[in-house]
């Protein structure tokens, strides 16, 4: 099964790897420890625990899917962080122990996840665990200081400490998530961490600010603050959800429309989808960041659009068998089409350069990495097609290797070889 190795287009839901298990087990232990510890010490300020718990559960219910198969629950995170950071509720100082913060957060998250389970949407245990670990870290760092009264009584002494705690907790969550993704997607850790920080930054900023607002407002408004100050975040969340929605639709649509070449009989069924999957897997193997991978995916999906300019399809759609100049014309035309969309200029450029040989021959700059990847992936798929025969895959890689240095980028072909026959 050659296809299996570059199949995962995100985290596979039911195939948890060791990293996932470790994290989930750790979160489970946290839950057990915190509940036990809270049972021993007794619950401090039951009303506050219920109010914050309700907010966290509500936020967990409204969790959000973000581009790149990520999950966030901004309202829940803000609520939990606020609970970890709150100094006074009304006139009464908050003396909550870290264990209680963790216990309330964990239980509320579980409750918030129940309705999702009830309608058959599986809980993403890893994402939930990462969030819990971040909150636990914040609580463990901040509560002892606050309970001992060590961070002053005015906002200009309190705020820097709180900001620091939030930033560290966010960084920790990103590191954990990046580690998990490295494991699951065969990405590089540094790249995965960069992507994670970039994607999560706006949400983390909004969540952190809201957590601080709730924590400070609890002093003036009491527990009503919990309710009132979740409102700004609700607005943010609605906006983010719409954004994530259109991003998903966009990709879906390009995927669907890229099949015009298949319907028109220009290429073999499934060719665009296979090439894009393989190209993205190679790009990830070579350490490309997520934004570049998305462009690569669009370009790979649409790399054959130029063939629409042909009156009659190339036999079998195999552009690898067509003369170089004709390939270039097809690519040029495809790029023109994509350029009409005005927003995908770099994608158009990738498509335009896809048929250029990898070695610069004086006249041309070497094509961008994405073009070289698509060139190799396309050639591989033209040779192998939908076949899952591993000897055929090996033969195809061997044939591409013969042409490396002149035609195909050796690095790309190596990555491709690793992907399709990992044993070698």
């Amino acid at each position: 099964m050659a296809g299996r190795w570059y199949e995962p287009r995100g985290l596979p839901r039911h195939a948890l790897d060791s990293g996932h298990w470790l994290l989930v087990a750790f979160a489970g232990l946290l839950l057990i420890w915190s509940v036990a510890a809270t049972a021993v010490t007794g619950v401090h300020n039951v009303d506050a625990a219920l109010a914050f718990g309700a907010l966290i559960a509500f936020g967990e219910l409204l969790r959000l899917n973000l581009p790149g198969d990520r999950e966030a629950a901004p309202i829940a995170t803000a609520g939990a962080m606020a609970y970890a950071l709150v100094l006074r509720i009304g006139s009464e100082p908050a003396r909550t122990w870290p264990s209680q913060v963790v216990a309330v957060t964990a239980l509320a998250m579980l409750i918030g996840a129940l309705p999702h389970l009830a309608v058959g949407r599986p809980a993403k245990l890893t994402a939930m665990s990462a969030r819990l670990v971040a909150v636990a870290c914040a609580a463990a760092a901040f509560r002892p200081l606050a309970n001992a009264g060590l961070i002053g009584s005015r906002w200009w002494t309190q705020l820097p400490v709180m900001l620091g705690v939030i930033a560290v907790a966010w960084f920790l969550e990103s590191v954990v998530t990046a580690l998990i993704r490295t494991d699951a997607l065969r990405a590089r850790f540094s790249v995965a961490l960069g992507d994670e920080l970039r994607v999560q930054f706006p949400i983390a900023a909004a969540t952190g600010a809201s957590a601080l607002l709730i924590a400070f407002a609890a002093e003036v408004m009491g527990l009503a603050a919990v309710l009132v100050f979740a409102a700004p975040l609700l607005v943010t969340q609605v906006a983010l959800r719409r954004y994530a929605g259109i991003r998903a639709t966009y990709l879906q649509t390009v995927r669907a429309l890229a099949r015009v070449t298949e319907i028109g009989g220009y290429v073999e069924t499934g060719h665009s989808a296979r090439v894009s999957r393989l190209a993205v897997a190679i790009g990830r193997e070579l350490g490309m960041p997520e934004a570049a991978l998305l462009e690569l995916e669009y370009a790979a999906l649409m790399h054959d659009i130029g063939q629409l300019s042909l009156r009659d399809p190339v036999p079998g759609g195999a552009t690898v068998l067509v003369a170089r100049d004709e390939q270039r014309r097809i690519a040029e035309y495809g790029a023109e089409v994509i350029q009409q969309a005005r927003v995908l200029d770099s994608v158009a450029d990738i498509v335009r350069r896809q048929s250029d040989p990898c070695r610069p021959d004086g006249r041309f700059q070497p094509p961008p990495l994405s073009s070289r990847i698509i060139r190799a992936a396309n050639a591989y798929d033209d040779l192998v097609g939908s076949s899952t025969d591993s000897s055929r895959a090996a033969e195809a890689v061997a044939r591409l290797r013969l042409d490396t240095a002149a035609e195909y980028d050796p690095q790309v072909v190596d990555a491709l070889g690793n992907l399709v026959s990992p044993a070698a």
């Binding site: 906002w155 952190g208 601080l212 009503a224 009132v228 669907a256 089409v337 969309a341 995908l344």
Partner: protein, 429 residues
């Protein structure tokens, strides 16, 4: 707002005069100027990050948040002063007259909101622990008054400066916007409430989630534009295969939107039918070029191949999640009211509404553009043809709606195709 009529000038002048009176009259006693300064800066920040809503320079900003916070913290006059910050918004676009009017509008809204706050028993000043929940009622009244005054003043100016047949007046001032405004106004109470704890740092913390939300909205809008442009570019690519249908999907899309708006479809559905119009013929790609461009009548086999195209199109776009109703439209756009169409032979109301709309627009564009087997017909003749076949091929209600829309807004028929221009082929490219 380039050339204002006399009444519009009077209207704008009156608003500005009223605002000046409010600001000048005072009283200024007991105002905390540093607070007004900070809130003014907040307002300038909101105003500067306004989102443009349409071509007529209607922009939406979160000003309400700052002016309502000022209502609670500084009272009506203070709020009016804070709203003067609108004048200094760092944003290109509005002309000086627009700026003046916008400022006057916000000053008046803030002042009247402040009056309403007092009338409902609100106390001006930094709220403390005892102010809640008593503050909520008067604040809500103030917020409603602010949004209502804003709404009325803006509608006034749009009504006075409207151009005949200007659809953006309807589209731009939609009701949801004012609900959003009310929602952002609620942030005002948060700023006021936190002032006693965080002082001037409050607006910074409140602004972060707001700005992230605005960032997400902007990203959403950009993505949506990108999306439309991409779909349309891909549709054009498909059309290169058949020279005679160039621009067809774009025009059918436009026609379908005209019908849909005319019969008062909800905006989401109008959006969906626009995509359905663009994509309705993608299945033609599966039909051999020789058949599409054939002069003269088709053989049975060729006709069967043509009849397959709605299903082919459906196959292709089925995976696009949001297009549920559009899918039905694409699949059935060649059905006829009398049941003699394809692919299913549905009749009357069995045909999905989208398909009936698309059928009218599709046939009209086919008649008014060149085809390989005949030239384009003039618009009046095509309308007569639509009328003639209404009830047999077309849904009469949609024919009427389309004709009404064309008579009001006009229709741009495609340029006649230059004779004999060859298709781009690999040899000639």
């Amino acid at each position: 707002m380039d050339k204002l009529s006399r009444i519009a000038w009077l209207y704008v002048g009156a608003a500005v005069a009223a605002a000046v009176i409010v600001v000048v009259k005072g009283p200024y006693a007991g105002l905390d100027w540093s607070q007004i300064g900070v809130l003014g800066l907040l307002l300038v920040a909101c105003e500067s990050s306004a989102t443009l809503l349409n071509a007529r320079n209607l922009a939406w900003s979160a000003n309400t948040m700052a002016s309502l916070a000022a209502v609670v913290l500084c009272g009506p006059v203070g709020a009016a002063l804070v709203s003067c910050g609108t004048l200094f918004g760092l944003r290109r676009g509005p002309s000086i007259v627009q700026r003046m009017f916008n400022t006057a509008m916000y000053v008046l809204s803030a002042y009247l909101a402040g009056r309403a706050f007092l009338a409902f028993g609100g106390h001006v000043g930094t709220p403390g622990q005892s102010s809640f929940p008593g503050l909520i009622g008067p604040f809500a009244a103030a917020a409603v008054v602010h949004v209502a005054v804003n709404f009325l003043l803006l509608h006034g100016v749009f009504w006075l400066t409207r151009e005949p047949g200007d659809a953006s007046v309807r589209g731009g001032l939609d009701f949801k916007l004012w609900l959003t405004d009310l929602g952002y106004g609620a942030f005002g109470v948060l700023i006021a409430a936190l002032w006693s704890v965080l002082g001037p740092f409050t607006p910074v913390l409140v602004l972060i989630p707001v700005f992230v939300a605005r960032w997400a909205v902007a990203q959403f809008a950009a993505q949506q534009r990108a999306y439309e442009a991409t779909v349309s570019a891909l549709c054009q690519a498909v059309e290169t295969k058949d020279f005679y249908t160039r621009g067809h999907s774009e025009r059918v899309s436009r026609g379908a939107v005209m019908i849909a708006s005319e019969i008062g479809m909800r905006p989401e559905r109008v959006g969906a039918i626009r995509y359905a119009g663009m994509l309705h013929d993608v299945g033609k790609l599966g039909v051999p070029t020789s058949v599409l461009q054939k002069r003269g009548s088709l053989t049975d086999d060729e006709y069967a191949a043509v009849q397959l195209h709605p299903m082919r199109g459906l196959d292709m776009v089925r995976e696009i999640g949001f297009l549920d109703e559009a899918l039905a439209g694409i699949m059935h756009h060649h059905e006829r009211i009398d049941g003699k169409g394809y692919p299913m032979g549905l009749a009357g109301d069995e045909i999905p509404e989208f398909a009936r709309v698309l059928g009218v627009a599709d046939a009209f564009d086919a008649m008014t553009s060149d085809r390989s087997y005949r030239g384009a017909r003039p618009i009046p003749e095509a309308i007569a043809e639509l009328r003639k076949w209404a009830g047999k091929q077309f849904d009469p209600a949609f024919v009427d709606a389309f004709v009404a829309a064309i008579e009001r807004d006009g229709w741009t028929a495609p340029e006649p195709a230059p004779a004999g221009e060859p298709l781009r082929t690999i040899e000639s490219l």
